[in-house]
């Protein structure tokens, strides 16, 4: 299994598409803190001018906010860019050996099906961990610079937990990508199927449970679920499957976002359950399916 893990890391570090998405991911996370800073500066400027004009006596809305507020936009970048990066890594991993016609070389050696699949999965998870560690460090440094001082240790810990929580979410989507890559007969369907699944989980399920407000789904703050009525009943059952929304709830709570409402423990169970369920699913892929020939 070690050989497969090492090979996976080497391949991911050289393949163009995963690397391109990784670059976009790192860039977006890096600028997300800056966007938070610019938001604060702009709103504070407006507040100062409004107060000087005697139009308000309300306190500065940012005065009591945690510096972790600047990391708020990272949530949406993890959901939009990070998960896509994970899907592409999973698809690339599954297609690589079939495209290179090396799958028969691998399976004709004393390597078990589970060692092959889980070796790849562990390799991708390590790659995702390293990516999240890097963006976590960048986010911590940028926020400290914007804040003008080192953050309290508890804030660094919260930031670390936030990026750690992103790992099961991204791993789950990487497995979905691998699953599609292993079972598809065509490269295009191997890419389209997991992306359709991602769009369904991220945009369709939350809309069903939150009375259809699609634009709000691009906000880092999750929509409050509909209570009562048929939408409320529906949300009770399908809400946990909207892992992206659950990630927003859990991350918002971890980052001390005052606007977040929702059940933290339910959100954590949903994210971890997603990772465990997808890992279980991929373990059921048969040896003969792994050998399946790509028709393009």
């Amino acid at each position: 299994m070690k050989a497969i893990i090492r090979q996976e890391l080497l391949a991911l570090s050289r393949e163009r598409l995963p690397l391109m998405l990784f670059t976009v991911f790192v860039s977006m996370i890096s600028v997300s803190s800056l966007i938070g800073f610019l938001t604060k500066t702009t709103v504070s400027d407006v507040w100062i001018r409004t107060r000087e004009a005697g139009l308000t006596s309300a306190p500065n809305p940012f005065a009591s906010l945690s510096p972790l507020y600047y990391a708020r936009n990272s949530i949406i970048y993890i959901i939009l860019v990070g998960t896509l990066m994970a899907i592409i890594a999973g698809v690339s991993s599954a297609l690589r050996d079939r495209k290179a016609a090396t799958i028969d070389l691998i399976l004709s050696r004393p390597t078990s099906r589970s060692a092959y699949i889980y070796g790849k999965l562990i390799g991708i998870t390590i790659w995702l961990s390293l990516s999240l560690f890097l963006v976590g460090v960048i986010a911590a440094v940028v926020i400290s610079i914007i804040f003008g001082a080192a953050l309290p240790a508890s804030d660094y810990a919260r930031l670390a937990v936030f990026f750690l929580l992103a790992l099961p979410l991204l791993s789950g989507f990487a497995v979905i990508g691998m699953f599609a890559g292993l079972l598809s007969k065509r490269e295009t369907s191997a890419l389209l199927l997991p992306i359709s699944f991602w769009a369904f989980v991220t945009f369709v399920i939350p809309q069903i449970g939150t009375a259809a407000r699609p634009v709000a789904l691009l906000n880092p703050v999750p929509l409050p679920p509909t209570s009562g009525g048929p939408f409320g009943a529906l949300n009770f059952f399908i809400g946990p499957f909207a892992v992206s929304e659950q990630f927003k709830v859990a991350s918002g709570k971890i980052l001390n976002d005052p606007d977040i409402s929702g059940d933290f423990s339910k959100a954590i169970i949903s994210i971890l359950g997603f990772a465990v369920l997808t890992s279980f699913l991929i373990s059921m892929v048969k040896r003969t399916s792994i050998r399946g020939v790509l028709s393009e």
């Binding site: 090492r6 080497l10 393949e15 690589r96 290179a100 016609a101 028969d104 050696r109 004393p110 003969t288």
Partner: protein, 270 residues
């Protein structure tokens, strides 16, 4: 001539048999490959039917047949990539239905149209396959094998820059890294230019002569079989139509001018 220095007990044994220093080894089976009533069906299509085949230790066996005759299915069954619908496969006395993993330790395999990983070097590709075969620190062994194949100068070059013939050499290297007892080659000369065909033929003959590796190759190039193989089998419609040693085959058909004529007379016979 360069030689490989890493020998298993079995390969030393095989060499001693071939060189005549020992008439037979106790630890060795007479046959490297034996199939009994081997059948493979895909839904309603029977790709291979009741194949009874035996290949002796140290032979170069050529399996001939038209496209779709079942050659690749046979190799896939022998290399444990496919599970038979019925019948058995034994490699070096090991039954594939009981211990496929043990068979995978004994064999080397070069599929048709192997591509390898283009964005990795020869060394990186070979290290991966060596590790999969259980070699812990394979660098020295890789250099030794590349040296044997006169390919050491391409050690750190990326596979993506290689010609088909060069890739095929790396393919052969990955197949013999772990010193297998039996080597399976599926259409090894397919797509190679005449120079590449000649070089690969030399490598196959040297491997067999130096290490006594049993070689099983699928091909439809009769000229290659004549120059390389010590025995042949002919598949026709998923059934073994003929099997014999090359010398006996030529003696059996004295009226035929070439192996091509022999092949056609067997192929067209009812």
């Amino acid at each position: 001539m360069k030689s490989l220095y890493v020998f298993t007990e079995k390969s030393i044994c095989r060499l001693s048999v071939l060189s005549g220093t020992r008439p037979y080894c106790d630890t060795m089976n007479e046959f490297a490959i034996v199939t009994k009533d081997l059948t493979k069906s895909y839904k309603d299509v029977v790709a291979l039917e009741n194949l009874n085949l035996s290949v002796r230790q140290g032979e170069i066996f050529g399996l001939l047949g038209h496209n779709g005759a079942g050659k690749t299915t046979t190799v896939n069954l022998l290399t444990t990539l496919l599970v038979p619908t019925s019948g058995t496969v034994e490699i070096e006395g090991v039954d594939s239905s009981k211990s496929a993993k043990d068979i995978r330790k004994l064999i080397g395999y070069l599929p048709e149209n192997v591509q390898l990983y283009n964005n990795m070097t020869t060394m990186e590709n070979l290290r991966f396959f060596a590790n999969l075969s259980g070699l812990k620190k394979p660098e020295a062994r890789i250099k030794e094998v590349l040296d044997y194949l006169n390919f050491n100068s391409h050690y750190n070059k990326r596979i993506g820059t290689f010609s088909k013939g060069m890739r095929q050499r790396v393919g052969i290297a990955q197949a013999i890294l772990h010193n297998p007892s039996v080597l399976f080659l599926d259409e090894p000369t397919s797509g190679l230019d005449p120079e590449g065909v000649r070089q690969l033929r030399d490598v196959i003959i040297r491997l067999n002569a130096d290490l006594g590796v049993t070689i099983f190759m699928n091909t439809h190039l009769l000229s290659e079989v004549t120059k390389t193989c010590s025995s042949i089998g002919i598949l026709k419609g998923g059934k073994l139509a003929y099997q014999n040693s090359m010398n006996s085959t030529l003696a059996e058909f004295p009226d035929q001018d070439s192996l091509e004529d022999i092949y056609l007379s067997i192929e067209t016979a009812d």
